[in-house]
Subunit: 325 residues, 2 copies
């Protein structure tokens, strides 16, 4: 069965779609009420964010657009030192979408939400003309666990940690799009538990960012600009799997600019670098974590290369890979 424009009318078919797919999977007391808005109890300081997802192909090794939509917003909240609590999900569905695919996407969202400990408490569906693509917006609310975690908060002598291998989401999407056979799987994952582990171990995290569109290079440039500091990293310390490295070599890609969906940097006081690394490596999503560099006085992002050269790491210019997330 396929979606047609009547599923977006606000009438009977919209109601069936909502009940048969979304309520079935997202089932919770708040959402089930089908009010105009969810009513929630949440105290004090919150983090609040939104993200839209337009990835193509919608299904790829290691996940699908629904998993991205949950993890992406969970990660944005986590990066602010917040515990993700509630999500909304807005679906823009093209006519011609296969109901079974939509069901699978919703099922994956349910599983990802369960793992990340969030509830999907409000939603919306719209149907447009088209040929079977689905676009998903999620917004999210989290409770702030630690104040002052900010991209503006990095200081000289801070250490920079990276939670694991670069480039896997990007390589998985490219492989899917180009029909290249390999075993590279997207790293798409909720990072909320790594953040909880860092905070539980008393790490005074100054800044966290997930390295999505634009990759590690873009995130490090944002750190440098927002905190008015220089970022120094060491190429040999940056973890990349052999398979992704081979993929990049063949296609001439730079892993520093490739998108990730389950990797973050944490900028922590230099003296806590080893403790933070240990906390990250205990987590299943941080096994390959490394200390990759530090913050100094100055400006810009610099990398000491494997051949002991020095390279300026600029912000991404141009289109990178469109519709990566």
């Amino acid at each position: 069965m396929y979606i047609d424009l009547s599923h977006g009318s606000g009438g009977k078919q919209t109601s069936s779609l909502i009940h048969d797919i979304f309520l079935k999977h997202f089932d919770n007391e708040t959402l089930n009420k089908l009010e105009d808005a969810a009513v929630l109890d949440i105290g004090g300081r919150i983090a609040y964010t939104t993200d839209s997802f337009v990835v193509t192909p919608m299904f790829f090794r290691g996940g699908n657009i629904g998993k991205l939509a949950v993890c992406g917003t969970v990660n944005d909240l986590s990066m602010m030192g917040a515990k993700p609590k509630y999500l909304t999900a807005g679906f823009i569905i093209e006519a011609g979408t296969d109901m079974n695919q939509l069901d699978q996407i919703a099922q994956t969202m349910k599983e990802a939400a369960l793992e990340a400990g969030v509830k999907i408490v409000a939603g919306d569906t719209k149907v447009i003309e088209g040929s079977g693509n689905v676009y998903i917006n999620t917004s999210g609310i989290g409770e702030i666990l630690k104040e002052g975690v900010s991209i503006q908060n990095c200081r000289p002598k801070d250490a920079i940690l990276l939670s694991g291998n670069l480039g896997e989401h990007h390589a998985a999407i490219m492989s899917g799009r180009m029909g290249i056979e390999n075993t590279i799987s997207s790293d798409c994952a909720p990072l909320s538990s790594i953040v909880a582990d860092l905070l539980k171990n008393g790490i005074d995290v100054h800044c966290m960012r997930d390295a999505t569109r634009g990759g590690l290079a873009t995130v490090l440039n944002e750190v440098s600009e927002s905190s008015h500091c220089r970022v120094e990293i060491d190429e040999t310390s940056i973890p990349i799997s052999r398979e992704v490295k081979g993929f990049c070599d063949i296609l001439g890609l730079d892993p520093l600019y490739m998108a990730n969906e389950g990797k973050m940097i944490a900028v922590v006081p230099g003296e806590q670098a080893e403790a933070a690394l240990a906390a990250m490596q205990q987590n299943k999503y941080g096994e390959n974590a490394r200390i990759i560099g530090d913050i100094t006085e100055g400006a810009g992002v610099y990398m000491t290369t494997a051949l002991h050269g020095r390279r300026i790491i600029d912000i991404l210019y141009g289109e990178g890979l469109p519709r990566i997330c």
Copy 2:
């Protein structure tokens, strides 16, 4: 200048787009920080909702997709007895979109947000292939002003009020799409001030709903189903402008099923009906408010027609008008 895929890369062009259009208009301390999530202070009970907007044409008499995107979410929060406080805005922009149009949309959102007293505190942009359409998702957070306002909360002897003329948004969109010349203007408006007026005047509102997709008929059916009651309305009491009535007569449309973007029902205790009506009529968006019926024991939605007949008002079946909001 037009949007191309590079504006969605996460790199330099994305950054220009965000600064030159969105930050310029939405300018506020929280958003300007460009963190992964906004950090907000909000106490206790909140309402939380999301809505996506795909209306075509994007510009119409009385508004544009940006005004809809702000008012739609503001209204969903208001209908739960909440004071809207914060919005997020997620843009999915097709390549080929005219930057000037995008600028105009953002400008309108800024004005609507100002009127409704909300701040746009987080955002996201994605670019997809296409031919110049823009899709906007907004989510919103409000502070609950009155507990227990719910679609499940209507009781026999409650009165039903409608805040004004039906069908204007629907007729304006259809006119735009069909190239019909008339002066019908969308009723798109924030309803937060009507809700504030009702509560300020001590009205014990049981339920509020804005009559968007599917129209008044759909909302009344939701009331009947969720509150397990019968809804009785009187056709002669339902306000419709002469021009919309003429438009409907020519095209064979039923105003009860037509979408509105600035009209709501309020279900209030029968003895407060007149006081609620007075409160609504004082508001500039409620001048044409009427008491249109009441709640009784039973099930279903019934209308006494102008000719003293009795008609069952069923839920919309089929596609109505796709992409109306």
